[in-house]
C-alpha cells in the first residue's frame, strides 16, 4: 500500500517536471510518429514483395512489431528513465547522490525501478496497442478469449524479462561507470522488431538463450495468433521468474560495491 502511494507521488512529480519543458512535446511527438511510421512501412515494404516470410503473414509480422512498440513504450514509461537516473550518464552512481537514496527507509531496487516516469510514453503505448489491434483484426483467424488471455500473460512475462535484463545491465555500473552495455543491448533489441523465425538458426539460438530478446516479442505474438503451446507459456514464465530473481540478487550484490563519489 505504502509502495503504491509512493508510485502515485513519483508519477505526479515526474508529470510536473515534464510539463515544464513544453516545447519538448512536439519533438517527442515527431520522434514517436517517425518510429511508428518507419516500423510499419518497413514491414509493408517487405510484404510488397512476398506473401509469407518463413510462415509469418503480413498481419502476424505486424503484430510482432506491435508487441515491440508496446514493450518499448512500457520500458520508456518508467523502467528506462528510473534506471537511467541511477546508472546513466550523470546518474546517481556517477555523481555520488546515491548516498541520499541509500539513506531512505525502503527497498533500493524499488526506488531504482519506479522513481522516474516519462508520461509521454503513454502516447507510444497507445500507438503500439493501435498496431496490435490493427494486426489482430487483419489476421485470418478469429480472436478467442483464451488467445487474448495467453497474449496478455506472455506480454507481462516479456516485460518482466526485459526488466530483469535492464536491471542487471544497470547494476554493471558499480564496476565500470558508463552506458556502453546498455547501448549494445539497445542495438541487439532492435532485432526483436521481427519474428525470431525470420533469422538464421544461430541468430535464433543466441536470441533465445544468450540475450533472450526474441522471447520478449515473438512469444506474445504467437499467443495472439493462437498456437502457442503450454510448454512455451511455461517456458516464458519460468524464464521471467528466474531472470528477475537472478537480476535482483545481482543488483543487491553490486550495490555493496558502491563506495560513494563525493568528497
Amino acid at each position: 500500500m505504502r509502495y503504491l502511494r509512493l508510485i502515485d507521488r513519483f508519477i505526479k512529480v515526474s508529470f510536473v517536471e515534464e510539463v515544464s519543458y513544453r516545447a519538448n512535446f512536439w519533438i517527442n511527438l515527431l520522434h514517436s510518429l517517425l518510429n511508428l511510421i518507419t516500423g510499419v512501412l518497413g514491414v509493408y515494404v517487405i510484404f510488397g514483395q512476398i506473401d509469407t516470410l518463413r510462415g509469418w503473414s503480413y498481419a502476424e509480422t505486424l503484430s510482432v512489431l506491435g508487441v515491440y512498440l508496446t514493450i518499448q513504450a512500457l520500458r520508456n514509461l518508467f523502467i528506462g528513465p528510473s534506471l537511467d537516473a541511477l546508472a546513466g550518464m550523470d546518474g546517481e552512481v556517477w555523481s555520488g547522490n546515491l548516498d541520499f537514496t541509500l539513506l531512505r527507509p525502503m527497498s533500493i531496487q524499488f526506488l531504482a525501478s519506479f522513481r522516474r516516469w516519462r508520461l509521454f510514453a503513454l502516447f507510444d503505448l497507445l500507438l503500439g496497442l493501435g498496431v496490435l489491434v490493427y494486426a489482430a483484426i487483419s489476421m485470418d483467424q478469429a480472436l478467442s478469449i483464451s488467445n487474448i488471455a495467453m497474449f496478455l500473460l506472455t506480454l507481462l512475462f516479456g516485460a518482466g524479462i526485459l526488466y530483469a535484463i535492464l536491471l542487471a545491465f544497470s547494476a554493471l555500473v558499480f564496476w565500470s561507470p558508463g552506458v556502453m552495455f546498455m547501448w549494445i543491448f539497445d542495438g541487439v533489441f532492435q532485432l526483436a522488431r521481427y519474428p525470431l523465425g525470420l533469422y538464421p538458426g544461430w541468430v535464433r539460438l543466441a536470441l533465445t538463450w544468450i540475450i533472450p530478446v526474441g522471447v520478449i516479442t515473438t512469444i506474445p505474438a504467437q499467443a495472439l495468433r493462437g498456437g502457442l503451446s503450454m510448454e512455451r507459456l511455461a517456458f516464458s514464465l519460468v524464464m521471467a521468474v528466474i531472470l528477475i530473481l537472478c537480476a535482483s540478487i545481482f543488483f543487491r550484490a553490486a550495490l555493496r560495491r558502491y563506495a560513494s563519489a563525493s568528497s
Binding site: 512501412l41 515494404v45 521481427y194
Partner: protein, 263 residues
C-alpha cells in the same frame, strides 16, 4: 587560405578521437544493426531462389557494401554543429585563422578513421561467414567510387545546412532525425530502391536521399540501366551543388545574427 592549419586540425581531432575509440565502436555497432537486420530478413526471404532479381548471396553482398557506404557517408559531425552554435563554442571556430568549415571537416575525417577501424574488420568477418556473391566489373567499381564521393559530399552538406538552422532555432536536431528516417525508407536500407512500392520508388528517384547511400551500391551490383545511371549522376550532382550553395547561403545569413558571450 590556411590549408596547413586545416590539416593540423584534422590530424589532432583524429588522434583525440582515437582515445575514445571504444565509445565510437559501440555507436557504430548501433548504426550497423539496422542494415544487418534487413540483410538477414531479405537473404532469408530469397531462400534458394531469387527475389527482385537478387539471390540470397547477392542480398548479403548488397547489404555488406551498403553498411560500408552508409558508414562512410554518414555525417555524425552534424549532430554536434547545433550544440557548437548554441553553446557559443563557435567562437573558437571563428577566431582561428582559417575557414570555419575545417572544424566540422576535421571531425568528419576523424570520425571516419575511427569508425572504419571497427567497420572494416566486422564487415570482413561477416563476408567470410555469410559468403556473399558479387559479380562486378572494373568500370562499375570506378563509377561506383565516383558516386560514393558525390554521396559523401551530398550527405555531408545536406546535414550541414540542416544543422546550421541552429542559428535560428534550438530544435534543428529534429530535422536531422527526420532525415535519418527518410534515408532509412528511401536510400535502400529497408529494401533495395528498385524493390520499393511504386510510389516510394518514384519519390526515391527524385529526392536526394537515395543518392546518399543506395546509388553507389546499385551501380556496383549492376542493378541499374545505362540510362538510369546517367540520370542518377545528374540528379546526384544537382542535389550536391544545391546542398553546398544552400549551406554557404545559410552560413552567411546565420553568422550575421550570431552573438555569444565567452565560449
Amino acid at each position: 587560405m590556411n590549408h596547413r592549419g586545416g590539416w593540423a586540425l584534422i590530424k589532432s581531432s583524429w588522434l583525440s578521437w582515437m582515445q575514445y575509440s571504444s565509445f565510437f565502436f559501440i555507436l557504430v555497432f548501433g548504426w550497423m544493426i539496422t542494415p544487418l537486420i534487413y540483410m538477414l530478413v531479405w537473404s532469408g526471404a530469397a531462400g534458394t531462389g531469387t527475389l527482385g532479381g537478387l539471390t540470397s548471396g547477392e542480398f548479403i553482398a548488397y547489404y555488406l557494401i551498403l553498411i560500408l557506404v552508409n558508414q562512410l557517408t554518414y555525417s555524425q559531425t552534424n549532430w554536434t554543429v547545433g550544440d557548437v552554435i548554441r553553446m557559443g563554442d563557435l567562437n573558437h571556430w571563428l577566431l582561428r585563422p582559417m575557414l570555419p568549415l575545417y572544424n566540422p571537416l576535421a571531425n568528419e575525417v576523424a570520425g571516419k578513421v575511427v569508425t572504419m577501424i571497427f567497420v572494416i574488420p566486422i564487415a570482413s568477418i561477416l563476408a567470410v561467414v555469410l559468403r556473399p556473391e558479387l559479380h562486378t566489373t572494373w568500370d562499375k567499381v570506378v563509377l561506383s567510387l565516383l558516386a560514393l564521393a558525390f554521396a559523401w559530399l551530398l550527405r555531408f552538406f545536406w546535414g550541414y545546412w540542416l544543422a546550421l538552422l541552429a542559428f535560428w532555432t534550438a530544435r534543428a536536431d529534429a530535422l536531422l532525425a527526420l532525415q535519418d528516417s527518410l534515408v532509412f525508407l528511401m536510400a535502400g536500407i529497408v529494401a533495395p530502391v528498385w524493390m520499393l512500392p511504386a510510389g516510394f520508388k518514384l519519390a526515391a528517384s527524385v529526392l536526394p536521399f537515395r543518392f546518399m547511400v543506395g546509388f553507389p551500391v546499385e551501380i556496383l551490383l549492376g542493378q541499374i540501366s545505362r540510362q538510369d545511371l546517367l540520370i542518377g549522376f545528374v540528379y546526384q550532382a544537382i542535389w550536391a551543388v544545391f546542398a553546398i550553395l544552400l549551406s554557404a547561403f545559410i552560413w552567411r545569413l546565420g553568422i550575421q545574427r550570431y552573438t555569444a558571450v565567452g565560449g
